[in-house]
């Protein structure tokens, strides 16, 4: 077990002149109320006259809606409205989720409530609103939909076959997006390589299972013609924009508020039909309407992710150099591309990232993204990274094994060296600065690799089969406008911070990126305290309110620290300058003679305290009459930051997993997990550790347990927490985390993202560890989740 370590002063130069908090494991004081049961999640909010909506959702994968009978339901006690797709379509426009820069991508128009057809089990068809949720659920039983089942496309493997029915005939086929990449001389390299290894990798669909389900309250006020939406969401300004466009509002008419969010992980960064329907209902009824998904609804209508089948191969020479990778990725995304980020991004990332840590020069990739009648898939924590990493690292291990090289040595030899940056990866990704070599050296020491190998060999003689698996990874963070903006999606890559010195000397910071548990607000407080020069309990952070915070993109692509944090730093440094200017005016002295130290303005030369911040506040706000004519105090400043130097700033790292496999039962016991991560400047080591650990456990979930299972007719077989397995404390190992700090030069702060790399690396590391344990049996498993059954099959025991 490792304790959070303080990195302050160890590695990097400070960014502020009296740095006390940045770099330290400062507890998140704002989180105390969550431990006291005083959070405010959506379901804790009750508004006067609030109705509750429940949905009649398609019970089958694909159906034609013939007639909807609502009379009985409408007459039930407390019922306020029963609304179908046609009625809803009168006020909410349909949408098509494509991106301009994904050439050739297509999808069909999608409605808030299904019109004519429903295309997956769980698609909302009819909305019932009543005064209480119980009444709405009672009335739901009496909604009568006449429907007939249509042929459904379930398997992605056959989605493109000519005899397979078309989900959207107007699109001409079931292909959403396809992409091919061919760099170098792949065929020739594979033909002449000393070693070629190949495997087919399978990834089960899984979903985010945020503990707080998706939920919102829409409150349309007819007097003001203004819509307020309380939302459990990651991107409030994005939702504000979407409500404007789908319902014809302007930004000033729509107010989105995100209070406490009970887990998000990418699940709550999308716009769901339910969101628009709830808003539409509030507008129709002119009263607040609350929607809270129940767990079954979450399983069938939260986005799923990661259903892929990838054929991959690797070529290497005798000396141990990786020469080439080739992949063919097939992925199924459900019947519609998800709004507004699109469901093609995940596969696109796989193409971008396979082979990414290594210096090979030949790469071919092919991607088909196909439609099917299952729940839509989209971006979930790590987006494509866990898949790319498991494929890459699985192939790397196979090659190392054929070469009889130690897998760690093989990686050390092949990673892009730490002195090679900036450079471009083979797929065209631009890499600013990474530290693979240092990370590999760190993990080797941390896990005492030679001793572990010895232990493994000794135990093997006794019939105990343990395995060690590595996964080297890159994670794209701090995205530039090249991600969505260029494709026409109105998702801000810039973010802003407004910071104000209050009259008492307290610093209020308003930030566009919000808090979903990562500790974002905590690190903003640390940055603000250091940059303005106050103690951390003199800082108040406000996020999650489109009426008050600067416009920004919110939480996605691990941008909270790197983009939001930089905006906070810039704004706070500007405020400190303004404080000094004001002090100069008050004291009638040149600013160059003054400095700031811990809530005071000092005489720079003597260190004598001249003015406390409370005095700056008092004069700046209440006694401006004493200031020179024309002088403006400006004790509130706003700064924005966009990362424009690179399409992304990559975080990198390496993980290792140690497991024991029981060859009789196929049971896997996770013994230990190690992670070394380089997310640039670490603002709070404890919070990064916990991001890494939480993400690793989510990655392990996908690797070993989690899968949305469907039957042949497209019905979800395990839509409950009792049937869909998620990692619990007992099965999880201790996870040791270490940091390497290579700051990005694209910002003053130097922070890269840390939220997703854990999820990216864990499945590859666990898969490789299991396969390492199976070496004596000459068996491999590349089908995630790697269940006991699959292991027993690989061992030919069943």
């Amino acid at each position: 077990m490792n304790k959070p370590t303080d990195l302050k002063g160890l590695v990097l130069d400070p960014v502020t002149n009296d740095q006390r908090y940045i770099g330290n494991s400062e507890p998140r004081h704002g989180a105390r109320r969550l431990l006291e049961g005083q959070g405010t999640y959506i379901d804790d909010i009750q508004l006067p006259r609030m109705g509750h909506v429940v949905f009649w959702r398609s019970p089958v994968a694909h159906m034609k809606i013939n007639k909807i009978h609502t009379e009985q339901a409408s007459k039930m006690p407390g019922v306020l409205a029963v609304v179908d797709g046609l009625q809803m379509a009168k006020i909410c426009k349909p949408w098509v989720a494509t991106l301009g820069h994904l050439a050739g991508m297509k999808s069909a128009p999608q409605h808030a409530l299904a019109v004519d057809r429903a295309c997956w089990q769980g698609e909302p068809v009819v909305a019932v609103v009543a005064e209480t949720r119980v009444q709405a659920e009672d009335a739901l039983q009496l909604v009568d939909v006449e429907w007939e089942e249509l042929p459904a496309v379930i398997s992605m493997e056959s989605a493109l076959d000519p005899e397979t029915p078309l989900i959207h005939p107007e699109l001409g086929d079931n292909l959403c997006f396809t992409r091919s990449l061919d760099v170098g001389n792949v065929d020739q390299v594979f033909a002449s390589a000393d070693v070629v290894a190949e495997a087919t990798f399978g990834f089960g669909r899984h979903t985010g299972v945020t503990l707080e389900p998706r939920c919102q309250i829409a409150d349309y006020n007819p007097g003001e013609r203004r819509l307020t939406v309380y939302h459990s969401q990651q991107a409030p300004h994005m939702m504000q924009d979407l409500y404007c466009r789908q319902f014809g509002f302007s930004e000033s008419d729509v107010h989105v508020i995100c209070k406490d969010v009970g887990g998000s992980f990418g699940i709550k960064v999308h716009a769901y039909p339910d969101d628009f329907a709830t808003v539409g209902l509030s507008m129709m009824l002119e009263r607040p309407v609350k929607f809270v998904a129940d767990r079954l609804e979450s399983f069938t209508s939260d986005i799923h992710a990661r259903e892929h089948r990838i054929k991959g191969r690797i070529a290497a020479n005798k000396a141990g150099d990786i020469l080439a990778f080739e992949i063919d990725d097939l992925t199924g995304i459900g019947p519609y591309s998800m709004f507004p980020r699109t469901s093609a991004i995940e596969g696109n990332q796989v193409v971008n990232l396979v082979g990414g840590p290594y210096k090979h020069q030949n790469y071919r990739a092919h991607l088909n993204v196909v439609f099917q009648n299952k729940t839509p898939t989209c971006q979930y924590r790590g987006v494509g990274h866990p898949i790319a990493c498991a494929v890459t690292e699985g192939l790397v291990d196979l090659a190392a094994q054929k070469l009889q090289m130690d897998p760690l040595e093989f990686r050390k030899r092949n990673v892009i060296p730490d002195d090679a940056y900036p450079c471009s990866g083979i797929s065209g990704i631009k890499l600013e600065v990474l530290s693979h070599e240092q990370c590999l050296r760190t993990i080797e020491k941390m896990m005492d690799y030679p001793a572990l190998r010895k232990e493994q060999a000794e135990l093997r003689k006794k019939g105990i089969y343990r395995g060690i698996g590595f996964a080297t990874l890159i994670e794209l963070t701090n995205p530039s406008p090249a991600f969505y903006g260029v494709g026409g999606a109105r998702i801000a890559s810039q973010d802003g911070a407004s910071v104000r010195l209050d009259p008492s000397g307290v610093v209020s910071v308003l930030v566009g990126v919000g808090e979903q548990g990562q500790g974002t607000e905590g690190i903003y407080a640390q940055i603000a305290a250091d940059a303005v020069g106050v103690s951390i309990n003199q800082v108040r952070i406000v996020t999650g309110d489109t009426d008050v915070t600067p416009y920004g993109g919110g939480t996605w692509a691990s941008r909270g620290a790197g983009v939001g944090g930089e905006a906070v730093l810039l704004a706070c440094q500007a405020l400190q300058e303004n404080i000094l200017k004001l002090a100069g005016a008050i004291l009638n002295r040149p600013v160059s003679e003054l400095s700031v130290h811990r809530s005071h303005v000092l005489d720079k030369a003597t260190g004598e305290q001249l003015l406390p911040f409370s005095e700056i506040g008092r004069i700046g706000y209440f006694r401006t009459d004493t200031l020179p004519a024309g002088f403006s105090a400006d004790l509130m400043v706003t700064r924005h930051y966009t990362q424009k130097d690179y399409p992304f700033i990559f975080t990198n790292g390496v993980q290792a997993s140690y497991v024991e496999v029981d060859p009789d039962t196929g049971f896997v016991k996770l013994l230990k997990h190690w992670a070394v991560e380089d997310c640039g400047r670490v603002i709070n080591p404890m919070l990064v550790n916990e991001q890494v650990r939480g993400a690793i456990v989510q990655g392990i979930g996908g690797a070993l347990f989690e899968e949305c299972l469907y039957d042949d007719s497209g019905l979800l077989r395990n839509g409950s927490m009792a049937d869909y397995l998620v990692p619990m404390a007992n099965e999880m190992p201790d996870i040791e985390v270490a940091h390497v700090e290579t700051p990005t030069q694209s910002s003053k702060l130097g922070a890269k993202g840390a939220g997703e790399a854990g999820t990216a690396g864990a499945p590859g590391a666990v898969q490789n560890a299991i396969n390492d344990a199976l070496v004596p049996f000459n068996a491999t498993v590349f089908e995630q989740p790697i269940t006991s059954e699959k292991i027993l099959r690989a061992l030919k025991k069943i």
Binding site: R20, N24, G37, Q46, D294, I735
Partner: protein, 169 residues
């Protein structure tokens, strides 16, 4: 026909009289009728532990327990147990280890942990993991929660209190 039943119970030290439908779950009653925000609903089927509250000193799942069953009982939630200081050590330790992220699981996790501290004061790391395995946390990866609980067990064994977390000056 009025199917409502009269119940009377003590919630966080206050006597509460109510008339409710027999099908109403305890957690719904606490949240919607008494406006308590501590117990949460994660699954409504007994799988996640977010709705954990105490009835007559025992932790139970508020989503599987009918409010009418609590007639005549003493019910405690994280709010009440915070006020009485019962959870103070655990709360400080959770703060120190950042053993919560979104906090949605925290009230249930704390109540489960408190029962462990009481019933199994000598638990080791593995036993702590096993004990809290009825409580789902999607955010933390559990490691920090285990650290936080183990620290409280250690402190108790030595007869110490966990020092309150303060901002460093």
């Amino acid at each position: 026909m009025n199917l409502k039943k009269k119940i009377s119970l003590t919630v966080n030290g206050t006597l509460v009289n109510a008339e409710i439908e027999p099908r109403r779950h305890l957690v719904d009653f606490l949240r919607e009728d008494l406006h308590l925000k501590g117990p949460h609903l994660g699954c409504e089927q007994g799988a996640c532990g977010a709705c954990t509250v105490k009835v007559d000193g025992q932790i139970i799942r508020g989503c599987l327990y009918l409010a009418v069953q609590a007639d005549g009982c003493v019910v405690e939630t994280v709010e009440g147990l915070t006020k009485s200081g019962v959870l103070a050590d655990l709360q400080e330790s959770f703060m120190r280890h950042n053993a919560m992220q979104c906090g949605f699981c925290s009230s249930g996790m704390l109540l489960a942990a408190a029962e462990l501290v009481e019933k199994q004061p000598k638990a080791n790391r593995e036993e702590v993991r096993e004990w809290i395995s009825g409580n789902y946390c999607r955010c933390t990866g559990y490691h920090s929660i285990v650290d936080a609980i183990v620290d409280v067990l250690d402190a108790r064994a030595k007869g110490q209190k966990i020092k309150p977390v303060t901002a460093h000056a």
